[in-house]
């Protein structure tokens, strides 16, 4: 019987050496532990995971989990993660970051990553505020919310990231809440399993700078959509729930089975690019030359 090779994966494998420096009570602790649990429960060895983040409190996550990690530039986690994934598609790639990172400065990449549909997971830790820069308005801050950069109230309509993702052609759209780990862990597992781009908006309250969108607020205003027999194969149904204004659904809004990007490149990606021999065959060299003669 195999012993060493089949050592079961445990949460302990995912525990990092560095203690998270988030404020006590920050929602990001919950996201981190749910992510660790999800990956462990799926039996994915920690070395086969690459977590790519931008910049923000939430983007510090890769430093606190024992996988490979890349902590990059504000707003740029997605292009880096996509470049990485296509270069080594044997790895499980998870991008993560904040609402400012993903919906503010990074929203262009957000839209295009979704229509591109590379097989990866994207977790946005949405606290409706800019945490790391000490509390400015974010794209999901409420209308009229007072923040350090909007002392007279936020004049902009908040984004509806779920609706946006659905419109952008995302093949897996979900929302969770770090204060509901039971549901969240199942969402994360389904997301990692999904073939294609899986996106999860995750409420992760900032206890220090956002006194509106608190854990209590989410406990009071969210409901689990699976409890209402939500049809996750229907984009119309998903949009309808996304546009609800009196309550906030959590769960898997939409799943579409469509070709992940890698299938368009199947000849090239028959094995991971990192495993290709470098350099050209004599024959190919010849062909390249011939084309110009």
């Amino acid at each position: 019987m195999p012993e060493i090779t089949d050592k079961p994966v445990t949460i302990a494998d995912y525990k990092g050496d560095v203690h998270p420096d988030w404020c006590p009570g920050c929602g990001d602790f919950g996201v981190l532990s749910v992510l660790q649990r999800a990956l462990a429960e799926m039996g994915i060895p920690a070395n086969e995971v690459m977590i790519v983040s931008g910049i923000g409190c939430s983007s510090n996550l890769p430093g606190f989990i024992n996988t490979y990690g890349l902590h990059t530039l504000h707003g740029r986690s997605l292009p880096i993660a996509q470049g990485f994934k296509l270069a080594n598609h044997a790895m499980n790639v998870v991008a993560c970051g904040g609402d400012g990172d993903g919906y503010g400065i990074g929203v262009g990449h957000f839209i295009h990553a979704m229509r591109r549909n590379i097989d990866m997971t994207y977790v946005v830790m949405n606290n409706s505020i800019y945490g790391l820069t000490t509390g400015q308005t974010s794209p999901t801050s409420g209308l009229n919310m007072k923040t350090k950069s909007t002392p007279f109230g936020n004049p902009e309509m908040p984004l509806n990231p779920i609706a946006l993702a659905l419109s952008a052609g995302c093949s897996f759209v979900a929302r969770g809440f770090s204060g509901n780990p039971k549901q969240l862990v199942e969402i994360y597992k389904a997301a990692v399993k999904h073939k294609g781009f899986a996106y999860i908006d995750t409420f992760s309250p900032c206890v220090t700078f956002n006194k509106v969108n608190t854990a209590q607020f989410y406990r009071d205003n969210t409901y689990e959509i699976e409890g209402e027999n939500h049809d996750k194969t229907s984009k119309a149904a998903a949009l309808e729930r996304a546009l609800e204004t009196d309550r906030i659904g959590t769960g898997i809004f939409y799943v579409q089975e469509r070709s992940q990007y890698e299938e368009f490149e199947k000849e090239v990606l028959e094995k991971p690019l990192v495993q290709h021999e470098l350099g050209l065959s004599k024959d190919l060299q010849h062909k390249l030359i011939e084309q110009f003669v």
């Binding site: 050496d17 560095v18 420096d21 060895p45 920690a46 070395n47 086969e48 690459m50 977590i51 790519v52 910049i55 510090n60 890769p62 430093g63 024992n66 996988t67 490979y68 990690g69 890349l70 902590h71 990059t72 530039l73 740029r76 997605l78 292009p79 880096i80 993660a81 996509q82 470049g83 990485f84 994934k85 296509l86 270069a87 080594n88 044997a90 790895m91 262009g108 990449h109 839209i111 295009h112 490149e265 000849e267 090239v268 990606l269 690019l273 990192v274 290709h276 470098l278 350099g279 050209l280 190919l284 060299q285 062909k287 390249l288 030359i289 110009f292 003669v293």
Partner: protein
């Protein structure tokens, strides 16, 4: 004219008149006969309706220049005569389309031979379309210049074979009509003989693309931007064959970061753009510097500032590629010609992996878009060296440190995926393991200590590059003890060479000092080189002498005399010769 070893041909018309395809037909006829061609494409940022021309200098020996005054011109639209006739060499030959050009051209100038061809009359056979007038004129041109028309006929076969035999035949028929007409009506006395060695006829962008492939490129991401788009087009067509990923991204921010992601994964990755797009990559270049990720960034310069002159030439992005927030190591290479563009692109990938840092290739519109003949590349000169890259660690290896402080500044690099050695790379300042010091440690003694190790470690790579002779000194061409040295960089190599030859033929004592590696600079060795020259004149395709300023800042050596061109055109040998003479730079 019969003894001439070269002929300058100009083909002019509106965008959409088929200038490029005529050029290809003509160029390939030459290159396959074993002649040498150097071409320059003048066009504008409009898809149709602009006035476009292609000038080809064809010679029995290597041509270094697209030249100034054409011997033969082929004019396809109304704007052409006024623009091009004044430029012609006296006695030159002009073919034109009389359906478009109706006036008496000898009014403009009477020392040329004018031949108006009437397409309707000459090509009155079925299947023919008026847009083929360029093929008719090309037939006349090729015959007149004394090329082997059989080679052209063969070209049609290949080119249109997919479109069916009729298309091939119609083209051949129109072409032959032009040939016949020229035989009957013109006398040029021109005749060019090739050496029979088939050469490639290609652009710098093609060469960069092929060089990247030869150097082991596996991932290419870009956003279209003239004049860099040719690399994207070339690589796209080769992607399946060469088993590489080519991705057009949503913008340049994404392109550079996509390449960085791929580089970090452990494959060779590159991106290309022009100045405006490079501006958007500046933050990412710094990221690669900080995370020590190999990546090649190609900036194909064009006329600036801002959108500037998108279809025109300038070499004015040195300050741009030297920028970024804070200090980080980098390498800047400016290939000197099409062949060099091939080898430098492969080399850049090696250097990027060896030094785990961004390597920037500075090409420009002229180098990247002009067509020329080149001898087939010798791929065996390229070897792929991956530096301190490892796919795995031996079992039982000590805990891996991604950013280990080493004497040469380069840390062993482990491909993400290996079991038991997970690490996180962060763009904040970090310790040897990659752990950030900015979050809760900054300012504490331990963090200051880490910073004082890591920052110099990274910067030390630039010293190592010099110590290991990975940065080439500028090349001196011509007599070592010349009285005048023309200093250039990048794509101006051939023009300066041509100028030197002319000047020497005129009895002047000149040589040529040419930079292809721009940064980092080895101060001591460079000053020695400069001091070995008598009088140095810098030749820069910009207004502000960006290279001369970089040389001064990095070596303390000051260039004091300059030849600049910033009107959007590339230099020519003649231009430089005139400048040298006018400014009395050389006192023979």
């Amino acid at each position: 004219m019969s003894e001439k070893k070269n002929v300058i041909v100009r083909i002019a018309g509106a965008a959409g008149d088929g200038i490029a395809s005529t050029g290809e037909l003509f160029g390939k006829t030459c290159s396959r006969m074993g002649l040498h061609v150097m071409a320059y494409n003048a066009y504008q940022s409009a898809i149709r309706g602009g006035h476009v021309w292609l000038q080809l200098n064809v010679g029995e020996e290597k041509t270094r220049c697209h030249g100034e005054q054409p011997d033969v011109a082929l004019l396809l639209n109304k704007t052409s005569p006024e623009v091009h006739i004044p430029d012609m060499k006296s006695g030159g030959i002009v073919f034109y389309d009389i359906s478009k050009i109706k006036e008496d051209l000898s009014v403009i100038r009477d020392d040329l031979q004018y031949y108006g061809l009437d397409f309707k009359e000459l090509c009155d056979f079925p299947g023919v379309s008026p847009v083929m007038v360029n093929v008719l004129l090309a037939g006349a041109l090729i015959q007149t210049v004394g090329l082997d028309t059989g080679v052209s006929l063969e070209f049609f076969k290949e080119k249109f074979t997919k479109k069916g035999d009729e298309i091939v035949e119609v083209n051949q028929k129109v072409f032959n009509a032009g040939v016949a007409w020229a035989k009957a009506n013109t006398k040029s006395g021109l005749s060019l003989k090739g050496d029979g060695k088939k050469r490639m006829f290609m652009t710098g962008n093609d060469a960069i693309g092929m060089g990247l492939l030869a150097g082991g490129l596996k991932s290419y991401a870009a956003y279209p931007m003239s004049p860099a788009t040719g690399i994207l087009h070339y690589l796209s067509t080769q992607a399946k064959k060469a088993k590489i990923i080519v991705k057009q991204t949503e913008d340049e921010l994404a392109a550079a970061n996509f390449a960085i992601g791929a580089g970090h994964a452990g494959v060779r990755a590159a991106t290309a753009t022009s100045g405006g797009g490079y501006c958007l990559m500046v933050e990412a270049v710094g990221l690669a510097g900080m995370l020590e990720i190999p990546v090649v960034l190609i900036n194909v310069q064009r006329g600036g500032p801002s959108t500037g002159l998108p279809t025109k030439q300038e070499q004015a992005d040195i300050k741009l590629v030297m920028g970024g927030n804070g200090d980080f190591p980098r390498i800047v290479i400016a290939p000197k010609d099409v062949e060099d563009a091939f080898f430098q692109s492969a080399r850049a990938l090696n250097l990027a992996e060896k030094y785990q840092c961004p390597v920037i290739i500075l090409s420009d519109l002229f180098l990247s878009e002009h067509y020329q003949t080149v001898d087939p590349f010798d791929f065996s000169k390229i070897s792929i060296e991956r530096g301190k890259f490892m796919k795995e660690l031996p079992a039982g290896a000590a805990r891996y440190k991604r950013y280990e402080v080493t004497e040469d500044g380069i840390s062993p690099r482990l491909m993400p995926g290996a079991a038991g050695h997970m690490y996180c790379s962060g763009s904040d300042e970090h310790d040897e393991n990659g752990e950030l010091i900015s979050d809760i440690l900054a300012g504490l003694p331990r963090a200051i200590d880490v910073r004082m190790k890591m920052h110099p470690k990274r910067m030390r790579k630039e010293e190592t590059m010099l110590k290991e002779n990975d940065i080439n000194l500028p090349e001196i061409v011509g007599p070592k003890d010349a009285k005048l040295t023309l200093l250039g960089w990048g794509s101006t190599f051939d023009y300066i060479e041509e100028a030197c030859e002319t000047l020497r033929a005129d009895g002047l004592s000149v040589n040529h000092l040419h930079f292809t590696d721009l940064y980092p600079m080895d101060r001591e060795k460079l000053v020695e080189v400069f001091n070995s020259c008598n009088e140095i004149v810098a030749v820069e395709n910009n207004m502000s002498n960006q290279m001369s300023k970089l040389i001064l800042a990095e070596t303390g050596f000051e260039l004091k005399r300059f030849i600049n061109r910033f009107d959007g055109e590339p230099f020519t040998g003649e231009y430089i010769v005139n400048a040298v003479k006018e400014k009395e730079l050389a006192h023979a």
